[in-house]
Amino acid sequence: MVTVKYFANLKQMAGKEEDQFDINEGTTLEQLSDLIKQSVPQLGDMVREKKVMISLNYDVVPLDTVVKDGDEIALLPPFSGGI
């Protein structure tokens, strides 16, 4: 099982802070986006269209990255910290 967290406007779109998904061995983030799409259709599409960044265990990674049980994934809209 992996956890997918949503932040800022994406959290508002999802109406929740996170989802948890059971995955098969060798699942990539691109394939995980299908599961995300089943939960929050708009966000699954945004991942596929690369409109959001994705982090895996606190580092931004590409969509072909393989995930494993216990991983923490997050969908990250453009950052706007600082001023």
């Binding site: 453009p78 950052f79 910290g81 600082g82």
Partner: protein
């Protein structure tokens, strides 16, 4: 007011004292000869819209990790003696402190360069998001230069 100066990379709801933070950093080394600070504060307008308040949200653990990486890279690449980075989250009033970067070096040149690099890198790599409240409602701010 927070006086928790135990860490040189912090994300916190409480305000900070610029003076206290500088004094804390001066204790890093007796060889510090130049200190440059960047202080970001809440401004009243953005793209012609009046802002009544700001809210910042972050991704815990990842945001702290990225700030730590910025600090370490700044110290290494610019030859600093030390650096601290503090960012507030939650509700921020206009005029309030938001972010503070303190770059300490033997001489001034490296501290100016490191400070400018660090705030740009923070905006580029650190998962923190700003929500502005305007007369039109609440708006999540997209990345700004």
């Amino acid at each position: 007011m927070s006086t928790a100066l135990e860490s040189k990379v912090r994300i916190q709801r409480e305000d900070f004292s610029v003076t206290d933070e500088i004094e804390f950093m001066k204790k890093s080394s007796r060889n510090i000869g130049g200190i440059t600070t960047f202080l970001g504060t809440g401004r009243e307008t953005n793209k012609g819209e009046n802002i009544s308040e700001l809210n910042f949200e972050h991704y815990p653990q990842m945001a702290e990790k990225k700030l730590g990486e910025i600090r370490e890279k700044a110290i290494k690449d610019f030859g600093l003696i030390d650096m601290s980075i503090i960012h507030r989250i939650g509700h921020i009033e206009i005029g309030d402190n938001i972010v503070l970067i303190i770059a300490c070096g033997e001489h001034r040149q490296e501290t100016f360069k490191a400070c400018e690099w660090a705030i740009a890198e923070l905006k580029r790599t650190t998962p923190i998001w700003k929500r502005e409240t305007t007369s039109k409602g609440e708006v999540w701010v997209q990345a700004t230069p």
